[in-house]
Structure formats: C-alpha cells, structure tokens
Symmetry: C2
C-alpha cells in the first residue's frame, strides 16, 4: 500500500521544476526530460507529470485511481492556470492541455495521447475569440472529440473518418484543411453524435472529467496487448507502469506562422553529424508522427523561417552537450514561437550508432568506454546486412524515402496477418501499407522489409523498422495500393502478391524482381570500434563453420579459429551419402568398414580445405553427432530408389529405418553413443583428420585440429573414445611415416547435464570443454526445440519465462551448470580450456555470462562475430 | 607391475596354513575357506591357492603367466608330495590334484574345474596298482582327458560323450559304471584320439604341463562371456580375478565305501534348521552338482554309514558356530574317510534368509542388527510371490523335486534362446530342460520358472533359480523331453509349446493349464524381521497406487500413505475417454469445460475410493501428466469410429492428432505445461479432489490429499498454478459451504534438472518436493527410456555404465541433483518434506542414498514395500 503522503505529481515550468532527467524510472523518459529541458532554459510549455508508481497503484487496485490523486491534479492545474493566466474550461481564455503517456523506456506509438483537453461547447467559443480564429478552434474541438473517443472510449477511428469524408464530400473539398467553419461545426456535431451512439453518453463537458478519463486511459494503455507485445519483442522488462504528462497545449496549426516537427540531432540512419528531421507548416505534431501528410526536410526550414532554424540548431547544440548523445526531439512553432515538446535519446540504426559513438569520442564528448557500451552489440548485425550488388540490373519502379537501411526482397503482402502466415510458410515478404500503425507490429516483425506510400523518415514504419535494423522505404507516394485485391499500381505497372519486389533502404528505391545482393562494406568507424573492442575483450571469438567458404567469411569478420566444425554435412553429397547409407545398412563391422573407406577421401579433402582456410588457427572438429536415421530416406519413393541403386531389397531399407526409429530421437542413439557402438565411424573420421593434418603440414600449411567428442554423459565414454582416438592417430602417424609432433587436443562437449555435474571426472580425460548450450538447454529445461511451439508462446506471454532460453541463455539453471562444470573441471586441470559453441555464443547477454565465468572463448556463426567481439568487450567493461 | 617378491601362493595343510577366511579378496571364497577349515581342524585334503592378484596380472600382461609363478607352483607341489608321501606323475604312487577356480564372490558353475591332474599313460598304472583298482584308475584317466579336453582345450563335450556311447553300445552296457576294464582302455584311447584330432597335439604326458595349462584355463575362464554375463546379472563388481585352488585329490568313486555329496547346514528353501543335502555313493563330486545322476537325500546316509552321518552333523555344528551363518558344503568320502572340499555361505531363498536370520537371533548366534543386514532386501520379494490357490483345480501330470519355491505358469520353451525370444514377445515361459548348464543362464533369467527332468535340489538349475527367487521344479524324471520337436511326453500326455503349464516350486508338481494363484501368506519370522526393521528405519514408506485396490494391498504390506497417485488412468474407461477426447478436440475453452464437467463426477468418485482405502494417511495426487495425444487414437480405424461416435468429421480428428504430434514427446507439451495452457483441466481435477475430500470428511473418513504439480522447471510455473489451485479449493469450499480446515499441501515433483538447480526458488511455492527420479534420470543422462535399448546393453557390457541407471539411481549425477535440491529447498524451508516417487523408491541401493540425503519418505509399488522397509533399516544401520 502506498502512503497517503506519497508524492505522485511533479511540476515543471520556468518558475518551479520538481523533476530532472535522473528520475526516468519515476517520471518516465518524456516527463524526466521535459523537466530537464525546462531546467536548462529551453522553451517548454509548462505542465506536470503523474508518476509511474501511480500507474502501478492504479493496476494493483484493480484499475482504480488512488485516493487523493484527483485532488493533487486539481492543485497542479490551478498553478498552471495561474502561471498561464488562463482558465481550464473557461469560455473566455481557456487553458488547454495535452495528456501523454511516457514510460521509462521509449515505446514509440505504443502508448496513447489525447490533445486539446479542456475544450467543450463553451470553451471552444472562448478559444475562438481568444485566438481570433474560429476555424482553428473548431478544428481543435473536433480533434479532441475524435482522439478522446478513439483513445479514451475505444470508438473505432474509422467512424470519425467516415463522417469526415461524408462532410468533405458534401462540401466538395478534398483536403481536411479546406473545410470551412460551417462544415467544421457540422463535423463537431456529427462527432458528438458518434460519441453518443457508441458510448451511450454525451461527450463530457466537464474538463476535469475529460482529464480524469484521459489519465485513466493512459494508465490502462500500459497493459493492452499491443503494449505488452511491444515490450516483449523489444525485451523491455522490469518497468512498473507509464507516467502521465499533462502539459499546456501549444498549437502548430494556428496558421502559416505555425508548424510542428520532429528531428534528430544527427542522422539516425547513417550517424552523419547533421541536423535531420522533418516539419509541417500549420499542423499538429501528431500529423508528422502518424505519417498522414508527407512533411518537408528540416533543412528547408531555412527558406520558411531562418530564425527558427537557427534557434533549433542552437537547441541541438545545447541538448547534445548536455545529454552527450544524439537526441530525438519534438517541437512546435506557435505563431513564430518555438516550443520544445520532447527530447529523448534518439533511436538509430547500427551503422549510425557506430558512427555517432566513434565521432563523439573524436569530438571528446564521450570516452572510448562509453562509446563501446553505447552501441548495442546486436545492432552491429545491421552493418553486416547485405546491400544490393551495384552491378546488378535494377528495374526501379519508384523512389521513396530511405527510412531504414538495408536491402530486402520478397513477395508483397498487404496486411500484418498475411505477413505472418506467409513468413511462417518460409517465404520472404515485404509488408506494403499506406502507413503502418502499432497494430501492424507483428507483421512488421516477420517481414524482410517494409514499404509505405505515405509518411516520412520519422513515421511509425520508419522508427520501428530502424529499431529492429529492418530495411524500410517510406512515403513512396506514387504507389497505389489496393490492399483488398492485393495489388499495387505504380506508373502503369501492376504488382501482385506473386511478384517478387526489392527495396533499398539506403536509396529509397523500389525495384521489380529479386535484385542480387552483395556483402557489406565496413566503415572506418566500424573498424575503429572493433579495434577498441578487441583491446578490451578477454574472450576469444571463434566461429561455427563447416566449410572453407564459411571459414573464410568468418576470418574476414575476425574469427580467431573454428569452435565448432560439424562433420555431418560432410556425409551428404552424391557419392558420400551412397556410401554412408551402405554403411548404415551393413549387417556387420566388416561391411561398415568397407563403406566408410569410400567416405574417407572426401572427409580428408574437406578437412584439408578447412585447415587451409583457417591456417595457423585452431579448428575444433566435432565427430559425427546426429542419429543414423537422419541419413536414410524416410519416404517410400526414395527408399525404393535407394534399394535399386544399392541393389538391396527395399524391405531391408524399410526394416532398417524402422529399427532406427526412436520415440525421442533427441535423447537417443547419437553423439558419442554412436562411436561406442560403431567405433569404426570414429576411426574413419579421426583418420581423415589426422591424414589431412599431416598432408597440410607437409605443404607448410599449419593446421591445428582439435577433436571434440559430443554428447558425453559418463566419463567412461570419453575415456574409452579418447583412447581409441589416440590409438588411431598413432596408427596414421606411423603409416604415413610422420615423425613431427601432432599434439591434437582431444576434448568433449558438455551438453548433457550429467557431464556438467560430474565435470571433475570428465576433465581428467578432456583437453578442453566446449559447452553445447543448445542441447544443455533442452535437457536442463526438459524442452525439445522442435516442440516448444505449443507452450513457449504462452509462457512468454504470461511472463512465466522472461525470455526464450534458446535465444538468451538461462543463467539461473543452464548457466549454473556451465559455471559448475568450469569450476569442477579447472579444479582438476587449472588451465582447462573452456569454450561455448551453442547458438548463445553470438548473444550479447549470454556472452556477458560467459565472460563472468571466465570461459576462454565463444564460438558463433560468422555473421555474429562482430557482435560477439563488441559484446565481449562490453562484458569486461561492465565487470569493472 | 607386481614386485618379484609378491606372495602369489598360499599353502594349506595340517602342518602349514598360510591363509584364512578373512583373505577372501586375495584367495577367493573357496581358497580362504579351505584354509580356514584346515585351521579349525576339519579334514581337508591339503593343497594351495594361487591368488586372485595373479589372475589380474595374467590378464594385464595379455594372458601370460607372471614370471616366477611356475617356480612357486613347483615348490608348493614339492611340499604337497612330501606331506602326502606321493609323487606328481609317478608310476608308483602318483599324487593327483584338482584345479578349481574360486573368486571372492560365489559364482556357481560359472568357472571351470579340472580333476585328476597328474595322470598320464604311466601314472595311471601307478594309480591302478596303488589303489588295487585298475577300473577306477582308468575311469579317472578318461575323466581327466575329457575334462581337460573340454575345459582347458575347448573341445566340445559331445565328442567325448559320443565316443563313450559308441563304446557302451559295442559293449552292450547302458550305464557308465558297467563298462569293463577293456572298454575303459578303448575309451581312453578314443579320448586321446579325440584330443589329438581337435588340438593337433597329443594329450600332455608331463603333469606339470597339465597343471600349467589348467591354471591358465582357470584364469582365462574369468573373462569368458558367460562369466561376464553372470557377474552382470548378479551385479558382482570390483573383483580383480579368480584364484586357483590346487588340491590333493580324494575320490568318492573308489567303491561302495566311497561317496560324495553337497549339503546345506539348514534348508536353503525354507530356512528350517535341518541338515539338508544330497549324496551319491561311488561317485565324484561333479556328478552331484551337474545333476547327471539323481542323488539321495543326505538323511538317508544314516542307513548307509551312520558314523559318517554323525561326523557330518558335527561338522555342521562346528561350521555354523564358527561362521555364524548357514553353510553350503561339499564333501567326499574316500574309503570311509570324510573329507571336506568346500564350505561357503549358502545361497538361500528369501523366505529361508528371513527364517535363518530370525532363528539365529533367537539362538543368540547373531544380533538383530546382523540379522537385518544379512537378509538381502531384494530377496523379500520372493516372500511376496504368489502361490497356487489351494482351492484351484490341479491337473497334476507329475511330481519332481521342489527346488525353488513359488508358483509359475507359462508356455514350455526348450532352449534358452527360445525363452529369450518368447519372453521378449511378452509371453510367460517355463524353461524345460533335461538339465541346465551355465550356457542356459540367459534363458533361465527371463523364464517365469524352470523345469528339469534330471538333477536334484543342488543341481545347477536349482541353485541358480533359488539365487534369483525363481520357481524351479527339478529332477522330474517322468518327463520325456523332445527338444527338437518341442514336445514333452508325460505318462501318455503330450505337451507342446502352445500349451500352458504350471509348476509349483514348493510341492514339485507339474500341472497342465494356467492354475489360479493367490497372494502370499507371511511367516511369523517375516513379521518379526519387519518389526525390527520398522524400529530402525527413519524413512517413511509410501506407495505408488492409482486405485482403491492397489491402495489396500499396499496398506497390508505396510504402506504409510500414497506417494504417487497418477490421475491419467482415471481418464480412460468408457464414458470418461469419450469426454476426454471431446475436450481435446474442442476448439475453445468453453467446449473444453463442458467436456471436463462430464469427467468430474468420475474423478471425484475415484478419489473418494482411494481416500477411503487410505483413510488417516496422506495421498499425494499428481495432476495430469502425459501429453494429450496419448488420449487420442493413432490408427485410422479407431479414428473413424471416434469420428462417428462424436459426430465430427474424421479429418478433424486426424488434424488434431497431427497437431499434437511431437518429435520428442518426452520433452513436449505435458505435465504442468498442460495446466498452464489449459488451466481448466487443473481446475476440474482440483475440484474433484476438494469435493472428494469434503465428502469423505463429512462421512468422518479422514482424507489427507496432497496436490502435486508435475514437470515444474521454472518457479513461475509453480507460482501461477499454486495460486490457481488455492483459488479453486477456496471456490469449492465456499460452494460446498464447508467451514472446516482443509489444509491441502501443494507441492511439486522435482524431475527436471532445472527444478533441482533452482530449488531454492521453487521451494518458496512448494509445501513438499517429490523427486521423480525416472524423468530426472532421463534428462540428466539425456536418455529416453523408450530408446536406450540400442546402446545401453553395449554400455553395460563394456562397463561404461556399471548399472542401468533406471534400475539403481546414479548417485554421482542424478543423486547430486537430488541432494542439491534437498539442501537448497531446506535452506528456504528447513522442514520441507522431501520424498521420492520414481521407481528407485523400491531399490535398496537407491534407498540407502535417499536415507543419506535425509529424505522423509520413499514411495514404491505395493509389492516393493517390504523390500523398502528392510532397505531403509539397513541404510540406517550402515550409516552408524
């Protein structure tokens, strides 16, 4: 229970400012920054913030405003009236306020806003006479009823839109602004009727009633599904609620000396140090964000009002030097006066994050450490996104705004739901919308790229896409989208859902067909940041690679060896799979050995290729892991073909397939269990590795293989197999008359809980441990990755699981086993090399854990290597 | 490496005895006891024992006798020659010796023996003149060649037998002993020829060569497959090898004043304190053990040689008072002189073990503690074996010897391999053999009972069967077994492999048909022992029971509550399964609730029944655990029937079955995961439990349910579900207007590694922990119980696993998690009740572990309860 004396409201104005930027948890980001901007002398309309704790109280009490809150609201409103000399609800000089949500973490477009509160049938006349602009006053009123009806009372927006369209038709005007006063009066009446029809109440004339309902609506919006979804997708946790900002209205739509805009202090796409943004003359702020009208670039403001442009550049300087980071601001110009409505740290693409961080170090604004910590490691992925091949032919259909960089191709889809369905079918899709809204986020999330026909680079689509590093082209105004018929018309060309299109988020181009892409080209800032990271990090970064090609890519990304070279893929391919199948179908060891002999030269050649690509660096080779049934055809047709080609009765194949069938293959006859029952497979693989090593060394290619035995759960498995590996190596050396040292380390994967629990036994026979956290997660949780779809979504939704443990390692359970195994292992062998080769090796949060338990290396897929390098450095910096 | 000075041979005779009974590890059981018997003045033919360590050396050196061993053998043989006044290999007064194996653990019939060593073409004449019995000397020689050829050189016994038969035919005699001297000479020649044909060498005339080869053969026999199999089946571990006993020969076949026998100091079947055994006049010891001739009961010796009978009774007394346990002895009478050839602790049936232990306490020979520790807890199972219903009609075909008690019915099988095949098919089989041999053990192991036509109650079949508590009727001489045609003829009745027969191991009867059985009747000694055990043990013993019937049986066995009441069986049964399937096929929660409502009354009634049977005692009910697909038919025919009866399209059923299909169902959507996604199932079950409790209490039946939530891996699962259970209980209480206290504990199974690892979190929401060590073993090892058949046999064979971890809990891995969870849980709640309800709850070794980590109870199947009670007491005694 909250005490009665708890301070629930923080005021901000030139005269009294109670909050500051450090109070983000309590006041939300917007509220804390409004207070801060007021303090440092920027022009901010006065107002107050109701705390996030109040929102928590509201929900704890079963959606009831805490007692005493409305009293405090009254007191603060009175102060606002006094300072502005206006009066809330007055028919003479009405005070109007906005009510906006603002949580501690930025959630663009997710929470709700109501403007122009305080207007009613009386005060609208007061506003008209005060501003001398009846048209404006009526427009403000109809906006209030619309927003209030939609946001607070849940009336679908389209009812209002339809009424507007009807009246515009009657008055024969096409644009909203063209409607005359008479039309607006009719519109207000129509809106009030819609309100009454849907709520069975009149639109509230008591401004305090409006305020109360609006505050409650903001509180409620904290827990609506789309807000919960957004928090989950963006991994926003631990927040208690949203704050509510009540602020005096300023109007950008008071005529041609008014306007509104949003801007970034640097380019959020590229990071270039240029004031970047858009504004609309004679418009309210929501018009820009919603992307309904296409705004002008902010630099064109020089032509319109050079004084205000100058003023804004000054604001940029003040904010950047105060906040020491790129800012995302909202501003309104009311009759030539600039007002700041918001500042917050600006979202940016990965490339922009890197450039801004490195530039700010050069500008001596921040330290290297701050720079390293500021770039979200996962965002580096965006720098590794392919761009279109400059040599590829482009059939450009139109050019929109380059809203989020990258290159994407796919089938156009016209609704978020369709995007989800087709993406689940494995298709690449581009979500095509006139504009996007928070209702579309699930479709945006699965799409390869986003294309809109209206809205600018700060529209919903653009902001969300950049946050995810997803390619987006916005405001492509030439598109005629027919969502119902699933068609797009552009300058005479028709695109249907069956045509692949490509979009270039860097140029804004929309192209027909699947345009060829090429690998990314790293900026010098990226290289600088990676250099700084490499100096700080302690973890080595290896890669998971099974081919010379992958090994090469990984080396270019900075891999310091291969941590996981899977050998199973080497058993596929025309000739090999035939021999592999012969081996599996063989009735005795002799026949198995004959078949394996045929595979040997291929494996040896594969290893030689990988060793050559990775020369001088270690290559950890995992011996055959999957169950044998994966190598046999499961369908009758292929079984028959196989029978013909191997000249065996098909019954034999069917029988073997059925023998190999397992109820729970994940827990079945695989990994080192295969090597125990079929030691000849291990012998062939070790022979291939050893021969390849000797062949490479004789060609002066320094190969450093490490042999890794998977799925060990009992020390004896490793003891027996280690000895077999050693014997096989010795045999090959003697047969090849190689007298040099080979020193091939023999280690094990720790991926079965029992191996971790008995690591002090296992360590005695292991030169290294490599944690297979995928399988370890499966067995520690008792989950099958193939089957979790049935309950994990529910678990995430209900917050039973904070995260999918296959994405970010569960440190409490799986991590406990990892730490235990490292400690037990190093008790026996103090220098035991420990690494991790599960998919968590490329996840920053998991990497921080691996640093904390002092692993020697992480191994991840080639494209995650820069992420891992940065994350490893961040982990060290955060430990300090 | 062994040092040169290592003592490898221990001598025993009246003049010098170097070993004693405490040296069992080094000298083997037989060797240690030969030395001990010599020391306490019993008549033992002198000899010496080569140590088990020497056997280990032999195997470590790649099957090579250690240097110096043969020298030591020579020295000891010389002493033997001196003491006996005979000479090894002499043509005048030859010394003959036996060579026998003897490991530290008794392994009857598993290891090999050679008698009469020292005979050759010369010394056989010496033996003839020394004994004045040429026939005897020649018979001894042919036995040597036969045994040596078979055991040492691996020549199949049947070659010798065929030669014998041929000569007997020629001489027109039917019994071995009827062959005259001329025939025996021919037989020796024929045997030597067989030896030469198969070994390409002459039978060795150098007696020391014979001795050396025999010693090596004994050493080798340690590692032959059947010895390894025997050790595995009997869980004999940690032994390094077998000792070799070289002992002067005495002969029971020197005429009608000679004989040989084996006996137990008490009845090994019933435990009655009566000298019990058999002897054969004019025979060698192997004839009794092998069951080739049917011997006479030892009490009949009174008629033959009352003096020797008296002497034997004295020996019984001396041995029992010396060893303080029932002994199994072998003796030989050579021309009226008694010689003891072996004593060892006698194998006995479970009932005998109980009776002997309790009797010996009454006789003040041993303490209660010794008595409790002496009865192998697992053997109590035999006391719980059913016997035939005395009221059932028996069609007795013949009566054999009651060799091992119990009642068994099944199809007759005629080879061990057939027994294995049919048993694997789920059939009960009775292994029917003329006699059994060590080659048959795998078939004996899987058979329900064993029936032989020759051999007595100390024959191979009888000894092995009693060791396992398996029903056995031996020496049913009227049987005419035609193994080839799979038929038995008995007094005109023909039995084929398709007829079920029944054997009564207590009466010796063979009956046609599947005779009805009835539950066991406990002896007063059993009750005494259980009483003693109950006073010592700390663990409570609960049972796993799903029905009132099982609950009642368990209570009679001493269950102190139900530790695991599975509810899934309650969803089957005609009406319920229909409703259950309706629920699974429902598209929405409402329809699911409708279907569940139909199941509710059945579940409530089930619980009322169980509560009534278990009144005053706790009943732990596990909420629904298996995946839903287990409730739907998987075959098309039944799917079609279901579709018709539910009036839904069959496609809907097929679709749902395929939706529910999982790649790894063990790790899938089951346990509490079901309750999270379908809370209505949990609500129905908790409602049924609560209503049943209230109904019972109102009828003054004190019901104490405990609600157990399965498969928890994340504390939030338990937190959410606990709260739902509490709410549901509260709702039912209020609806039923019940104001009494219910206090239903809500706990969780710990069966997922992560639950154990995070037990301090889980404990906060759990009133108790119940370890599900079956699933915990599956996940800790990464094994699927359904699939381990492919590699576990190999693992056990190769000693990679010492035991099947599903039979005896793996303390190093799984046990570590159990201990961790108990400690972490009790850190939060010092009195947290902890129990175990996996199948390990009835395994004595696992129970010792559970005692050591201070669980409160174990829960096992009803028939394991006495075993658990005794094992729990033994665990406490062994801790002291």
């Amino acid at each position: 229970m909250q005490t009665k004396n708890k301070k629930r409201i923080y005021y901000f104005s030139k005269e009294l400012t109670e909050g500051n930027k450090s109070m983000r948890e309590l006041l939300g980001g917007k509220g804390a920054n409004l207070a801060e901007m007021t303090s440092i002398g920027l022009p901010v309309p006065p107002g107050f913030t109701i705390t996030t704790a109040t929102c928590a109280e509201y929900h704890e009490d079963g959606e009831k405003l805490p007692a005493g809150l409305l009293n405090s609201v009254h007191k603060n409103m009175s102060r606002l009236e006094k300072e502005s000399g206006k009066c809330f609800g007055s028919s003479q000089n009405p005070l109007l306020v906005s009510v906006r949500s603002g949580a501690a973490a930025s959630m663009p477009g997710m929470m709700d806003t109501v403007l122009n509160l305080g207007l009613n049938d009386l005060s609208v006349e007061g506003l008209a006479s005060m501003t001398g602009n009846e048209r404006f006053a009526l427009d403000a009123y109809r906006r209030l009823i619309n927003m209030f009806g939609d946001v607070v009372m849940g009336i679908d927006h389209h009812y209002f839109e339809a009424a507007f369209d009807k009246i515009k038709k009657r008055y024969k005007v096409s644009r909203d602004t063209e409607l005359n006063i008479q039309g607006l009066r009719e519109l207000v009446t129509a809106y009030k009727q819609i309100y009454k029809t849907h709520t069975r109440k009149n639109f509230p004339q008591d401004p305090y009633k409006q305020l109360q309902l609006a505050i409650e609506a903001v509180f409620r919006s904290w827990n609506i599904p789309r807000a919960i979804t957004y928090r989950r997708i963006n991994e926003i946790q631990g927040l208690i609620g949203t704050a509510v900002n009540v602020q005096s209205m300023v109007f950008g739509n008071m005529g041609d000396d008014s306007g509104t805009g949003v801007a970034f202090t640097r380019d959020p796409s590229t990071g270039k140090n240029e004031f970047y943004g858009e504004f609309l003359i004679n418009a309210q702020g929501e018009d820009v964000v919603a992307g309904i009208r296409t705004p002008s670039p902010v630099k064109e403001m020089k032509k319109w009002r050079p004084d205000i442009h100058q003023q804004l550049l000054k604001v940029k300087k003040i904010l950047e030097s105060h906040y020491k980071d790129m800012q995302d601001i909202e501003f309104t110009i009311e009759r030539g006066n600039l007002f700041m409505l918001q500042t917050r740290v600006g979202k940016r693409t990965g490339p922009a994050a890197v450039k801004i961080a490195v530039d700010m170090v050069k500008e001596k604004s921040i330290t290297q450490k701050t720079a390293l910590l500021r770039v979200p490691a996962n965002d580096l992925n965006q720098l590794l996104l392919p761009s279109f091949d400059p040599k590829a032919k482009r059939r450009v259909l139109t050019v929109g705004l380059p809203a989020s960089p990258g290159a994407a191709s796919g089938y156009p889809v016209f609704t978020a739901d369709e995007a989800v369905v087709r993406a689940e079918n494995g298709e690449n899709v581009i979500l095509v919308r006139r504009e996007t809204s928070p209702e579309d986020v699930h479709g945006m999330h699965v799409a390869s790229g986003i294309l809109t026909s209206t809205g600018g680079s700060t529209s919903h689509a653009a902001v969300v896409a950049r946050g995810w590093g997803k390619c987006c082209v916005a405001g492509a105004g030439e598109l005629v989208i027919d969502a119902k018929r699933k068609k797009i018309q552009i300058n005479g060309t028709t695109i249907t859902g069956k045509d692949i299109i490509s979009i270039d988020g860097t140029s804004g181009e929309l192209m027909l067909g699947d345009v060829a892409k090429c690998p990314p080209n790293f900026s010098k800032e990226f290289k600088t940041l990676m250099n700084w990271a490499d100096k700080k990090r302690k973890l080595l970064i290896r890669t998971n690679a099974d081919s010379p090609e992958d090994a090469k890519v990984a080396r270019d990304f900075g891999a310091e060896g291969i941590g996981l070279c899977r050998t199973e893929h080497m058993f596929f391919g025309d000739q090999r799979i035939v021999a592999m199948r012969q081996m599996i179908l063989a009735d005795n060891e002799q026949d198995r050995r004959l078949a394996l002999k045929k595979i040997l030269p291929y494996q040896r050649k594969d290893f030689e290729g990988i060793f050559t690509a990775m020369k001088e660096l270690p290559v950890t080779i995992r011996l055959l892991d999957p169950p044998l049934h994966e190598f046999l055809p499961q369908d009758q047709k292929t079984q028959k073909q196989l029978a013909r080609s191997l000249k065996v009765p098909v019954e034999k194949i069917i029988k073997r397939v059925s023998q190999l069938h397992e109820v729970n293959p994940m827990l079945g006859h695989r990994g080192c269990r295969l090597s125990i029952t079929y030691p000849e497979i291990l012998e062939m693989q070790v022979r291939a590795i050893t021969e390849a090593t000797i062949n490479c060394r004789r060609k002066r290619i320094n190969a450093f293989p490490e042999i890794m035995i998977p799925l060990v759960g009992i020390v004896n498995e490793l003891a027996v197999l280690r000895s077999l590996v050693e014997q096989t190596i010795a045999k090959v050396k003697s047969k090849k008359k190689y007298n040099g040292k080979l020193d091939i380390p023999i280690g094990t994967m720790i991926e079965i809980p029992r191996a971790a629990l008995t690591a002090e036994q296992v360590a005695a026979y292991a030169d290294f441990f490599s944690f297979g956290t995928n399988d370890l997660t499966q067995m520690t949780f008792g989950y099958s990755r193939d089957d979790i779809g049935t309950f994990i979504p529910e678990y995430l939704k209900e917050n039973i699981l904070e995260k999918n443990p296959f994405q970010s390692m569960d440190s409490a359970g799986v991590g406990q086993l990892v730490e235990m195994a490292v400690n037990k292992g190093r008790k026996i062998k103090s220098k035991l090399k420990c690494g991790i080769c599960g998919e968590h090796g490329g996840d920053p949060e998991s990497i921080a854990f691996f640093q904390s338990v002092q692993l020697n290396y992480v191994s991840c897929s080639p494209f995650r290597i820069p992420v891992a390098r940065l994350a490893a450095a961040q982990a060290v910096l955060l430990e300090q």
